[in-house]
Amino acid sequence: MAKIANAHLRSCIQQVLEGSEEKKREFLETIELQIGLKNYDPQKDKRFAGNIKLPHIPRPKMRVCVLGDAFHCEKAGSLGLDHKNADGLKNFNKNKKLIKKFAKKYHAFLASESLIKQIPRLLGPGLNKAGKFPTLVQQQEDLSNKVDEIKATIKFQLKKVLCLNVAVGHCGMSESEIVDNLKLSINFLVSLLKKNWQNIKVLYIKSTMGKPVRLY
């Protein structure tokens, strides 16, 4: 990444990590990338939204539930993951409250092909409404890899103001892991902008409760 010198990147991360150490919090602080855009009009330019897949998991405590066929449920069990099969879903009897509670228990869902097609019929739009509709996991895909993939994927969306926050790591990660995550997310987001770096006004990183440190 030519625009930001490696040394500067590392020193910023250092500052954020040190800041987090100084004032120790009860919880594991997330590290966020804050992006300020310019030369971009949310009313007429193409929407800036999507998902980034990071190389290192930024939110390790993410709870995933597998809605699977026999094969995937067995695998899930062996990985220590919560799971449900078609019968398990039928047991909800389309009870909205129960389904809502179920959706709240987990951050994300994975589902086998055969089951994912049946979800509207078995559960109705409950998972849709909760923003937790499952991601497909195919027969041949390794379940453990898929779970890691889900945990490493971050959603970003610019609404009406010209700034965006993206979680890129946490204070328990090593400096080089944070560097990897930052480089990838910055390059990816810049590549989606029409004028690339000309659309970036400012970049900051910070820990959840810490002070922002200017990166660009």
Binding site: A2, K3, Q43, K44, D45, K46, R47, F48, A49, G50, N51, K53, K94, E113, S114, I116, K117, I119, P120, G124, P125, G126, N128, K129, A130, G131, F133, P134, T135, L136, Q138, T153, K155, Q157, S191, L192, K194, K195, N196, W197
Partner: protein, 378 residues
């Protein structure tokens, strides 16, 4: 009969509309007899003659960004437009410059970011932005009822801005909706209540930007996401053991259908071409070059490059099957008509009509490959 490949190979710019004002051309719709309607980022709608691209009229009245324009199917004098100002309006194209003749609204908090009209011209549906950080709605009106005809809303199937609403081209009760929550929902409206009507939910695992029906009997759905992902699903497999996904990529820019071994910078959209029985996907480079591609289970295959046309991002296109012409519109305020063997006709003011890119080309007379622009090093 000439196949699609040949028709596309012969395309060149036949007409170029002169940019009056620096506005983005965001959506374009065709009235098969003679007109093109274009929505602009300054909240107006422009009507053009589809063969000469001459401006024949303008409609003002919307007070917020437009989310689409579409002509009624059987009464082509009626043009509909939707807007974030919370209205879907009907305009009489025989009287440009006049007020809207129909207006559809719902709850004052609703701001529309998509809309469509059913193939039977009876049902209008608009997708709203997220309201109160929680809900987003699909709003339905019966077009025939005077005074608005609000039928109701669906509120459970999406959790974020509904960016595309697309009625099935043949089945008046079938509807697909896409949202920034990543989901593409398919409904059978004849079943009434939302829970019964929801037939399928497909997950793009990103933020859905555009959705269109595809395939021989329109049983497939193409979804393009805002971060340049592409998904093609076959709804015919809903009740079988076969997977729904025909082709899927989280980043279409990593595919390499172009001659130089590279990919496009962004995707504009897709359209099923009935005559050719192919799915056309249009992609572009930030320089303004366009690439027409075909999409199937193997991915994207290049059909034709269109250079020297636009000088900035292209936002909309359509294929006029009867006229065998491609129309493209973009952020450079230009509306272009591409026809086989089209020779750009200029009328005196040649210099001012040339796009910025063409002017730049002129100043480099010895450049070997005139139409290739060098990528700016970052």
């Amino acid at each position: 009969m000439e196949c699609l490949d040949e028709k596309l190979k012969g395309l060149s710019i036949a007409r170029r509309s002169r940019p009056e004002e620096p506005t983005y051309l965001l959506h374009v719709a065709l009235q098969p007899t003679s007109l093109l309607a274009v929505s602009c980022s300054n909240f107006t709608i422009h009507l053009h003659n589809k063969d000469t691209l001459n401006l024949v009229g303008e409609y003002q009245g919307h007070s917020g960004p437009l989310c689409g324009v579409t002509f009624a199917h059987s009464s082509p004098d009626l043009l509909y437009s939707g807007s974030a100002d919370g209205t879907v309006r009907g305009w009489d194209v025989r009287r440009p410059g006049t007020e809207s003749v129909q207006m559809f609204k719902s709850d004052p908090s609703h701001s529309y970011c998509s809309f469509d009209l059913s193939c039977s011209d009876t049902l209008l549906c608009a997708g709203t932005e997220q309201v109160n950080d929680e809900d987003s709605f699909l709003v339905f009106w019966d077009v025939r009822k005077p005074g608005g005809g609000l039928l109701g809303v669906y509120s459970e199937s999406h959790s974020d801005d509904i960016t595309q609403v697309c009625f099935h081209p043949r089945d008046k009760d079938r509807l697909a909706s896409g949202s920034t929550d990543g989901l593409v929902n398919v409904f059978d409206l004849s079943r009434g209540a939302e829970e019964e009507a929801l037939l399928a939910t497909c997950n793009s695992d990103s933020s859905a930007g555009s959705v269109c029906w595809s395939g021989a009997d329109y049983t497939q759905l193409l979804c393009l996401s805002h971060d340049e992902g592409l998904h093609l699903w076959d709804l015919g497999q809903l009740d079988t053991d076969e997977p729904l996904t025909i082709f899927s990529t989280s980043d279409a820019r990593s595919l390499t259908p172009l001659a130089d071994g590279g990919g496009v910078d962004y995707l504009v959209g897709g359209r099923w071409l009935e005559e050719a029985q192919k799915l056309l996907v249009v992609g572009g480079k930030n320089s303004g070059d366009l690439h027409l591609m075909e999409c199937d289970d193997k991915g994207l295959r290049l059909l034709r490059n269109l250079e020297g046309g636009h000088s900035s991002t292209v936002r909309c296109f359509l294929w006029d099957a009867t006229g065998e012409a491609l129309v493209t519109g973009g952020e450079d305020a230009q509306l272009l008509l591409w026809k086989p063997g089209g020779e750009e006709l200029t009328t005196g003011k040649r210099e001012s009509m040339k796009s910025q890119s063409a002017l730049r080309l002129k100043s480099r007379p010895h450049k070997k490959h005139g139409y290739q622009r060098q990528k700016k090093a970052t």
